[in-house]
């Protein structure tokens, strides 16, 4: 018998492309094309008049970014430093809060309401308003040093003043008070992570705890031998999410600098080159982190 029309396999893959078609159009029109344009910007001198015109300059922009421009490497190092410092603290903090919120006590819904609030208030405007009260740790410290008062919120002003008066160096004071100043930042960017952990903890089968209880395990052992390994996949998700979140944030120094270069100085060549360097570094970091953690991750199913 002759087959009529397409095989099931072919039909299925045709349907797949139909379902993908709007997105595929986007990949070509909105993503691939501008990405290619962005590469050609990175290797060109872009002049913007009515439209834009390109003249090829080779690796000039990359050279400028890495060796001539004084701001990029500094911003880049600061962003990386922030990431290395913040991500572990975010993870520990959100895991701790998730463990606390796991219990079914009176008022737990109120706390859940509050701890998810930062996600709702994740507005750049709101953040910028806060920065009008407080300021970054170093500048408020400078304010203390110079004797000027500041209206810093939730900051360790008194503490750093005290430590400075004790005669400690500025660097040491900053190192000690740094985590205190960062508390607000950490707490507000952990909203989603808390709930990812909470979901993970809630999905641990209770039979495991019962079995451990029968065997005579205490809470400490249960935590390290059951909860922690069972939540390992969530740790992977959260690490990746936190890193991406930090890097993509419009308020991180590199992204602010890129925005300034493009839309204030109209130096599209340099800003594209910086974007590409930045992107490659993110990709490498994510690949390494993913490799390290997923090897150690235990999947129950």
């Amino acid at each position: 018998m002759k087959r009529k029309g397409l095989t099931l396999q072919r039909k299925r893959s045709m349907w797949a492309y139909i379902f993908l078609s709007p997105w595929l159009l986007g990949v070509i029109a909105v993503f691939a094309f501008p990405m290619i344009l962005s590469i050609s910007f990175a290797f060109s001198n872009v002049t913007v008049d009515n439209g834009y015109s390109l003249s090829f300059v080779g690796f000039e922009n990359f050279r400028t970014a890495l060796f001539v421009d004084q701001n990029f490497l500094q911003h880049f190092a600061a962003t990386m430093g922030d990431m290395l410092y913040n991500v572990p603290i975010i993870l520990v903090y959100s895991f701790l809060v998730a463990v606390l919120l796991k219990e079914n006590f009176k008022g737990v819904t109120v706390f859940k309401f509050i701890f998810f609030l930062p996600v709702i208030l994740s507005s750049d405007l709101f953040t910028s308003l806060l920065n009008n009260f407080g300021s970054t740790s170093s500048s408020s410290l400078d304010a203390v040093m110079s004797g000027a008062g500041s209206t810093g919120m939730l900051e360790s002003l008194n503490l750093s003043k005290y430590l400075t008066d004790l005669g400690l160096g500025k660097e040491l004071v900053e190192l000690l008070t740094g985590p205190v100043d960062k508390v607000y930042e950490i707490v507000t960017c952990s909203g989603i992570q808390i709930f990812i952990f909470l979901a993970g903890i809630n999905s641990v089968p209770p039979t495991l705890y019962e079995a451990a209880h029968v065997e005579g395990a205490n809470g400490w052992e249960k935590f390290w031998k059951i909860t922690f390994p069972m939540v390992m996949p969530m740790i992977l998700v959260n690490v990746v999410y936190s890193i991406v979140d930090t890097f993509m944030s419009k308020t991180n120094l590199v992204m602010e600098y890129v925005y300034e270069l493009s839309f204030k100085n109209f130096n599209f060549g340099l800003s594209s080159a910086i974007c590409w360097i930045y992107f490659v570094v993110i990709a490498v970091i994510l690949a390494i982190v993913f490799g390290i953690i997923s090897k150690r991750t235990f999947y129950y199913t």
């Binding site: 299925r12 893959s13 797949a16 910007f41 509050i114 208030l121 993509m248 890129v258 594209s272 990709a283």
Partner: protein
């Protein structure tokens, strides 16, 4: 009673009490940090100007006033800006769901050539900073042309689409709006969790793929859909980057806030607001912060209201939706 047993009970009770105290202290402490700016916002927004200069007033306004809010609302043209913000965020949310759901379904359930590669592209769209493709896209749209056709029709001139809302709809409808890569990923995860048997049964009964998608897969993933829609709405409502590029001729709330801010910091006697603004000492940073907080409360109030009403659903759906699996 057995004395050993009772001692053990006592010990256990003390332990439990310790845990409760520790837990409460930690949770209340962290909650305070989160709530501090919100409380401050409410306190400042309703505080009369003279309270700012009164050192004995810290949190609770001595002279309660609605003037700040009124000034902020008028200067920001609040009604119109709010409608624009809510309207575009809602429209964007609904439009974005179409390509994201469809792509998520294709990745979850179909085998086709280039699947691995295309999924890698999804991951790529998540980790590429929006700035990287938005800037060239913006420049491209400022002189839009398809293989010279438009130039030929339009008398040698390329179209400038940046002044229209077209790019916004284009990005939403093709699944490249704010964080849409993440949404595709989440939908794929949740579609994978829908049991295959129902789908196969429907196929045997002769339902075509669209019908399966519409009548079986969609209802199966409704919790995740609602969660993603809420996120999408909140993120777009709060966003300043996409809207500054794509909706720059529409007065959304962030833009209205910028206008308001420049109006109060560089006030040069604009007559339309002069009567109201002239009563403020605009040189003083504390007075400026009163006004800024009032504007911010106007921007945040709708979201806070919706969240307060829908929070139970919002939180539960995230906890249970398998959004993380």
């Amino acid at each position: 009673m057995n004395p050993i047993r009772s001692r053990k009970n006592k010990q256990e009770m003390l332990m439990r009490l310790g845990t409760v105290i520790l837990r409460t202290v930690l949770l209340v402490g962290f909650s305070y940090i989160i709530l501090y700016p919100v409380i401050l916002m409410f306190s400042k927004a309703f505080m009369a100007q003279k309270d700012v200069f009164d050192n004995s007033v810290l949190w609770i306004p001595r002279h309660f006033t609605l003037d700040n809010i009124k000034v902020a609302a008028t200067t920001m043209k609040y009604g119109e800006s709010l409608m624009n913000s809510v309207g575009y965020a809602l429209l964007g949310t609904v439009l974005q769901m179409i390509p994201c759901l469809m792509a998520g379904y294709a990745f979850a359930r179909y085998d086709f050539k280039g699947k691995g590669l295309l999924f890698a592209v999804v991951v790529l769209t998540i980790i590429v900073p929006p700035q990287q493709f938005m800037t060239p896209l913006y420049l491209h749209l400022s002189q839009f042309d398809i293989f010279g056709i438009i130039k030929a029709v339009n008398g040698g001139k390329a179209l400038n689409l940046t002044a229209t809302q077209f790019p916004y709809f284009l990005l939403s409808l093709t699944g490249f709006g704010l964080r849409n890569g993440l949404f595709i990923f989440l939908f794929r995860q949740s579609f994978r969790g829908v049991p295959r048997e129902t789908e196969e049964a429907a196929m045997v009964d002769g339902a075509n793929s669209f019908r399966i998608f519409w009548q079986i897969m969609l209802p199966g993933t409704i919790t995740v859909l609602v969660t993603v829609m809420l996120f999408s709405f909140v993120w777009q409502y709060n966003d300043t980057y996409y809207s500054s590029l794509l909706l720059n001729n529409v007065r959304t709330l962030p833009q209205a806030y910028e206008l308001f801010d420049s109006a109060i910091t560089g006030w040069k006697g604009d007559l339309s607001v002069s009567n109201m603004l002239s009563q403020y000492v605009l040189d003083d940073p504390k007075v400026l912060s009163l006004l800024r907080n009032s504007a911010m409360i106007l921007i945040m109030a709708p979201l806070l209201g919706v969240y307060a009403v829908a929070q139970r659903y919002f939180i539960q759906s995230i906890e249970r939706s398998g959004i993380v699996g």
